[in-house]
């Protein structure tokens, strides 16, 4: 499964990056490929291109603020959670997102 994700939090200093790291680790452990874009205090990093968005099976937003340029993901199954949920239990977030994909794709 090809997953793309975006993480963001209000100050963009810490949670954004912790959530990104947690999702990367969890998705890889579960045998999926993932690219995580961070929208934090440094700006957008590891940006997901329109092509990558188009090729993805599933999109996860782990964000507490509005995700910028979300138009890229308009046609994709999108699973949204709070950033802190990804920090607390990223594996569960990925598993729930996969379930969401199965019922909505």
């Amino acid at each position: 499964m090809k997953i793309v994700a975006v993480t963001a939090c209000p100050t963009g200093i810490a949670h954004t990056y912790m959530a990104a790291e947690a999702l990367e680790i969890a998705a890889k452990k579960l045998g999926h490929t993932i690219k995580v874009e961070t929208q934090g205090s440094i700006g957008i990093e590891n940006k997901i291109t329109s092509k990558e968005a188009a090729e993805a099976d599933l999109v996860i937003f782990a964000a507490d603020v509005a995700v910028k340029e979300d138009i890229r993901f308009a046609k994709k199954p999108l699973y949204k959670v709070e950033a802190q949920k990804a920090i607390k239990n990223a594996r569960l977030v990925v598993e729930e997102a996969l379930k969401f994909y199965e019922t909505n794709a």
Binding site: I13, T16, I25, G40, S41, I87
Partner: protein, 146 residues
Amino acid sequence: MLINENLILLDLNAETKQDAIEALASLGYRDGRIDSLETYVENVLQREQTYTTGVGNGVAIPHAKSNSVKEAMIVFGKPTKAIEWGSLDDKPVDMVFLLGVPEDGAENLHLKIISQLSRKLMSEEFICTIRNATCKSEVMKALGDI
């Protein structure tokens, strides 16, 4: 440098989250990183209310982007007794990383290092190294590898 030995406290005596934040912020103040202790602490506590910075595994990362911060900093404190922090996993905290970033003109390099520290905190190995550190130079070394 974001951190130096003046910004490390291996015997943090604090009963509450607020005590801990105040004590560590004072180190930043004494090191010239912040010019108003009161404003900075208030900003950190406000951030804390948005949602907890107790990210689990005994780690807390209270932080603020604040006008009172003159130079970005990481202050590390190891409480002598674990502190109730309202963490994501409900466990008390035995490692506190207090982060401060200036409101304007925060250098990208500093923000980058702080973002890398945040990522590192998801690694159990990294947490273990710091948790087991018995002297400031060990903490410096672990953080220096970021």
